[in-house]
Amino acid sequence: MTKKLLSDITIDHIRSMIEKDKRVDGRTREEFRPIKIQKNYVATAEGSALVTLGDTKLLVGVKCLVGEPYKDTPNSGVLTTNAELIPMANETFESGPPNERSIEVARVVDRGIREGQAIDFDKLCITPEEEVWKTFVDIHVLDYDGNLFDAANMGAVAALKSAIIPASRFDKGEDFPFPMKHMPISTTFVKLDGYLVVDPNYDEENVARSRLTIATLENGRLCAMQKGLGGSFSRADVEKAIELSLRFGNLIRDQIESAGE
């Protein structure tokens, strides 16, 4: 079971409201759900963030260890992003090895961070060709009520920003803050009855036929995109989505910066 069955009445309700610029949870089409970010939630992680986006809740933890660099990038650290869609979070999630859904989430978040040059990989080098910091970003979804991409992206960026590299634990000198250069922030849209709708909740995701995620940087540039589901977007849709994602990106960036512990 990968999709929840929705009653016709729920589907009709969601659709008929969208036309009037209203949504089932009281938002307009271009409104995010409330965002709460708590940094350093987990003491055993190098950095972490608990993110709630409406009723979607997830925890991102960052762990670092010393390892070998890849042969083709001897002076760069290594980043691994992984998402766990644990069965606790939703009736459609199943336990077992990563499936295509969790791989897509992990890869879209990873792409935003990597292509947005969020991390200064050279500062993660200890000895060229021999030792670098290997960083694991683990996304643990606790309660899934829609828009995993954006919640996971916020969590990953906030967790990395709160991370301290545990150099002293590995006898590699003094601990230092995780080297961050940029904050790539993603914004996800779905198309509902011809209208572009931001930050879909779970029921809206199940009604929508197409989804678009856009990651932007503080300098107004784009760094990653992903279109999903079976439907399509027009060029005008994409233009509008980009404009909105730049605006939301700045708002979310401020929230991550000011988030408490």
Partner: protein
């Protein structure tokens, strides 16, 4: 565990532990019922340095099918540790340890859930350890019991669980990480507080017969304290403050108190509406 030789002194001259606790003192515990939206029932528990979430789905269709029982429901628990919950990153996914823990917790819970009412179904219990500091199986079982109650699954009682152990030849309860790693014995216990029945019991390390009984008594006492906290968590979530009781209900209560017959007020149960 298993009496690793160590220079760390786990008890000071006054008989107090690393964190200043007495041997029979629990770490601070907070329990919150109904912590998640999607799950049918859930609970969040902080127990010293442990942070644990438990969620319940069901009774629902049993997967895998061959596990289903035509006479009763099966209780399937999955205990899982987040990769960042321990100091060295844990590889995601089940390992032998977590599979064993899942099994013993499932079996403990199966004993309290009234499974005969839900033939062919499965009650799925998920325990996620977000931050670990020893005693996670006890914390998980304690949280899972609250989550089952929150889900409205009929049960004989909520299981309460706590470990006892031995450090520096002294019996203690509720070991923390250093005490677990460098101690001489560990004895996780789960009981049904109402009857005193033991539904989870493990032990590793070295104990004399007398030490075992001391540990068992101390852990049982701790379980009763934890049981009170579990009930408190449910009360906090589901009790209705006096000002929230509508006049209509109040009149009905008065009428019942005076022995009159009244129409039952309609029940408003969000959980039932959702499912």
């Amino acid at each position: 565990m298993g009496g690793t030789p160590t220079d760390i002194q786990l008890l000071d001259a006054n008989g107090l532990r690393l964190d200043g606790r007495r041997p029979d003192e629990l770490r601070p515990i907070t329990i919150k019922a109904d912590a998640l939206k999607r799950a049918d029932g859930s609970a969040y528990l902080e127990w010293g340095g442990n942070k644990v979430l438990a969620a319940v789905y069901g009774p629902r269709e049993c997967h895998p099918r061959h596990r289903q029982d035509p006479m009763k429901a099966v209780v399937q628990c999955k205990y899982n540790m987040a990769s960042f919950s321990v100091s060295d990153r844990k590889r995601p996914g089940p390992d032998r340890r977590s599979q064993e823990i899942s099994k013993i917790i499932s079996e403990a819970l199966e004993h309290v859930v009234l499974t005969q009412y839900f033939p062919r179904t499965s009650v799925d219990v998920f325990i996620e350890v977000l931050q670990a500091d020893a005693g996670t199986r006890c914390a998980g079982l304690t949280a899972a019991s609250v989550a089952l109650a929150d889900a409205g699954v009929p049960m004989r009682d909520m299981i309460a669980s706590c470990a006892a152990g031995k450090i520096d030849d002294t019996i203690i309860i509720d070991l923390r990480k250093e005490e677990d790693n460098c101690g001489q014995a560990d004895l996780p216990l789960g009981i049904i507080p109402r009857t005193g029945e033991i539904v989870l019991l493990q032990m590793d390390g070295d104990l004399s017969i007398e030490e075992f009984y001391t540990a068992l008594t101390m852990a049982t006492e701790a379980c009763h304290k934890i049981s009170a906290l579990q009930k408190e968590a449910l009360r906090k979530r589901y009790s209705v403050a006096p000002e929230e009781v509508s006049d209509e209900v109040e009149e009905a209560i008065d009428a019942i108190a005076h022995g009159e017959e009244v129409d039952e007020p309609e029940e408003h149960d969000e959980k039932q509406e959702e499912s």
